[in-house]
C-alpha cells in the first residue's frame, strides 16, 4: 500500500495542475471576446453629426446584432468607454478598430473598442444607395470595424476575398463596393462561435 503522504502529495500536485490547465483552457476559449454579450458604444466628438453618419453607425452595429442564435448585441450609451471615431489613421487604412484587453492574465477580455473611420485621403459615401466613382462606402467599412470591435480578426485571405466580393471580415474593399454591408454566412458563423 502506498504511503498516504505520497498519495496526498500527488493529489495536491494534480489539483494544482488541473487549476492551471482549466485557467488556460478558459483563456483560449475566451480569446479576444467581450466578457459581456451586450457591449455599448458612444460617438466621439469627431464623429460627424449628420443623420446619415449616425444612422450608418446604427446600421453597421445592427448587422452584427441580427446574427442568430447568439444574443450578442451592440447598443448606444452616452457614457460608454467604447466610441466610434472619425480621425486620421495610419498606413493608408480606410478604417481600423483599436481595442483594449484587460483582466487577469488567464481571464482577459475586450473591455473597450474604438471603431474608426479615416478622415484623411478618402471620400466617403454615407448614404444607402451606390457610391459614386472613387467613393468608399461608410456603411460597409464601419460594419467591418464593428466586426473587429466584436472580437473578429480579418478573414483569411487565401479564400474567398476579393475587392468586390467575400465576407465582411475580408481585409480590403474596392471603392464603390457595398458588399460588406451584408454579412455572409461565414461572418455569422464566426460571431456565433465566439458568442455561443
Amino acid at each position: 500500500m502506498k504511503s498516504i503522504k505520497v498519495q496526498m502529495l500527488a493529489a495536491l500536485l494534480f489539483g494544482f495542475a488541473a487549476a492551471l490547465i482549466a485557467a488556460g483552457a478558459v483563456n483560449a476559449y475566451s480569446e479576444k471576446t467581450w466578457f459581456t454579450y451586450s457591449p455599448q458604444h458612444k460617438y466621439d466628438s469627431s464623429w460627424p453629426t449628420g443623420n446619415d453618419w449616425q444612422q450608418r453607425a446604427i446600421d453597421s452595429r445592427t448587422a452584427w446584432n441580427n446574427v442568430s442564435p447568439t444574443s450578442f448585441n451592440w447598443s448606444y450609451n452616452a457614457s460608454a468607454d467604447s466610441r466610434v471615431e472619425y480621425i486620421s489613421l495610419c498606413c493608408g487604412r480606410l478604417g481600423e478598430t483599436g481595442y483594449w484587453w484587460c483582466g487577469v492574465p488567464y481571464f482577459s477580455n475586450i473591455c473597450a473598442a474604438f471603431p474608426r473611420i479615416q478622415n484623411t485621403g478618402y471620400t466617403w459615401y454615407a448614404g444607402t444607395g451606390t457610391p459614386s466613382s472613387g467613393q468608399y462606402d461608410l456603411w460597409s467599412v464601419l460594419t467591418h470595424e464593428f466586426g473587429h470591435g466584436s472580437g473578429l480578426y480579418d478573414h483569411s485571405t487565401s479564400g474567398s476575398c476579393s475587392g468586390t466580393g467575400g465576407p465582411t471580415m475580408c481585409p480590403s474593399i474596392s471603392a464603390t463596393s457595398t458588399h460588406w454591408r451584408t454579412l455572409e454566412q461565414e461572418d455569422n458563423d464566426r460571431l456565433n462561435s465566439i458568442y455561443p
Binding site: I4, F16, A18, G98, S172
Partner: protein, 210 residues
C-alpha cells in the same frame, strides 16, 4: 508510512481535500498575475487594389529575401505603450521586416541593398518582451525569414510620439496583398489563390506599361 489510523473513506476524504487545496493553490498563483495584464491592438481595413493600381502606387518594387523580422512594440522611442491625445498622433504597435534586395524592378527612392519595411500591428514573433501593455492582434502578413518574393512599397509618414510623424517604407495597402511570394515553380504567387501566378518578366511588362 501507511497511516493505518485512517480508514479507507478517510483516506479518500484526505485525497479529495488535498486535490481541492492544490486547485486553490493553482488559482492563487494565477491571481498573483492579476492587475498587471492589459493589452492593446488595432485591426485595419484597406482599399483593395488591382495589381496595376498597386504598381502605380508603389515608390519601389523590389525583388528580395526576408532576412529578419522584429518583434512588435509601440510607436515611440522607448517602444512602450503611451496614451495618445485627441489632437496628436495615435498610438500604434508596429514591427520591422528587413529585406535583402536582389534587384529593383522599380525604384524612385534610391534604396540601399537592404531595406526596412515598417508594418503596423503585431508581429509574427509577437511583442517585445517586457512591455507593460501587451500588443494584441493578428499580424497582417504571413512573411517568414527566408521568404523570397517581390514587395510593393511606398514611403509614407508613420505616426510617432516624438515629433508627430516619421517617414517609413510601408506596404501598399493590406500587407498580405502587397507582396508576391516566389515559389518552387519559379513564379510569383499572390496570397489569394483566386489570382494566377505570374513570372517576373510578366510583372516587368506591367511595370513598364505604367
Amino acid at each position: 508510512m501507511n497511516a493505518p489510523w485512517l480508514s479507507r473513506p478517510s483516506r479518500m476524504v484526505a485525497r479529495v481535500s488535498m486535490f481541492v487545496v492544490g486547485g486553490l493553490l493553482g488559482l492563487w498563483v494565477v491571481s498573483l498575475q492579476a492587475k498587471v495584464f492589459s493589452g492593446y491592438g488595432t485591426e485595419g481595413a484597406y482599399p483593395e487594389y488591382t495589381l496595376e493600381e498597386r504598381v502605380s502606387l508603389s515608390d519601389a518594387i523590389i525583388e528580395g529575401k526576408v532576412v529578419s523580422i522584429s518583434s512588435a512594440q509601440y510607436n515611440q522611442d522607448s517602444g512602450e505603450y503611451w496614451d495618445s491625445s485627441d489632437a496628436g498622433p495615435l498610438v500604434y504597435p508596429y514591427h520591422f521586416i528587413n529585406v535583402e534586395v536582389v534587384r529593383t524592378l522599380h525604384d524612385s527612392l534610391s534604396l540601399a541593398s537592404q531595406v526596412t519595411i515598417l508594418q503596423v500591428g503585431n508581429s509574427p514573433l509577437g511583442a517585445r518582451p517586457g512591455l507593460s501593455v501587451a500588443v494584441m492582434g493578428h499580424p497582417e502578413h504571413s512573411l517568414q525569414v527566408g521568404d523570397l518574393g517581390v514587395f510593393f512599397v511606398r514611403q509614407m509618414d508613420f505616426p510617432w510620439r516624438e515629433g508627430g510623424h516619421r517617414p517609413a517604407l510601408q506596404f501598399v495597402g493590406y500587407a498580405e496583398h502587397s507582396y508576391l511570394r516566389r515559389q518552387a515553380d519559379g513564379l510569383l504567387h499572390f496570397a489569394s489563390a483566386q489570382e494566377n501566378a505570374l513570372s517576373v518578366d510578366e510583372l516587368l511588362s506591367i511595370i513598364h506599361a505604367r
